[in-house]
């Protein structure tokens, strides 16, 4: 079974502060993703990566940056957090060649921006 670990699991941040969400996968998957989940909107793609050193904008990238320093790690960075970024964030990994791009999700990070 694929293993994707997110940290922290819960985070309370202040408006204007910097937040970093971390994700580690031990599956050697090429692709990694950051989604946010909100009622009525489902899962929306923020950033994704298809390998170390690469980051691509998803559907809602504004206000977020991403970093993929290695195959295993993919971070989501909120430089200036706003209350509208309060959400549950999911990291996922997948591999088009070995799993036909089936995504394996982490447990999620619940972020509250006050």
């Amino acid at each position: 079974e694929a293993a994707v670990t997110q940290s922290p699991r819960n985070k309370v941040a202040v408006t204007g502060g910097k937040v970093t969400l971390s994700c580690n996968q031990t599956n050697n998957h090429n692709n990694m993703y950051w989604y946010r989940q909100d009622t009525g909107h489902g899962l929306r793609l923020i950033h994704y990566s298809y390998g170390a050193g690469s980051t691509e904008k998803g559907d809602i990238p504004d206000g977020y940056k991403a970093s993929r320093p290695s195959q295993e790690n993919f971070s989501l960075i909120l430089e200036l957090a706003t209350p509208s970024q309060t959400s549950v964030y999911f990291c996922a990994s997948g591999d088009a060649t070995t799993s036909q791009n089936t995504l394996y999700f982490g447990a999620g990070t619940r972020l509250s921006v006050l």
């Binding site: 692709n31 793609l45 088009a96 791009n101 995504l103 447990a107």
Partner: protein, 114 residues
Amino acid sequence: GDSVTQTEGLVTLTEGLPVMLNCTYQTIYSNPFLFWYVQHLNESPRLLLKSFTDNKRTEHQGFHATLHKSSSSFHLQKSSAQLSDSALYYCALSESNMGYKLTFGTGTSLLVDP
């Protein structure tokens, strides 16, 4: 860009009755890959089933779906609902089985009553 439409936000039914959750999609690609993910309460989404073959029924864990490219649909069905089927169901689209980006619908909450 790609889009996935799930028209029902909430489906409530009695145990033992059939389940049908609707999913339609829009894409410019001729070989889309369609997925259903399930998310139980306080868990992360996980793959339920997937398909890229036109008009072929795909089954897993009692659920089934058939990709119909002619109508751009991939509805999820089950003959008899169980209490344990209560969950949030997402339909998702990839441009192909080698595509990097997965686009999710807004999700359908299924609530099965005794």
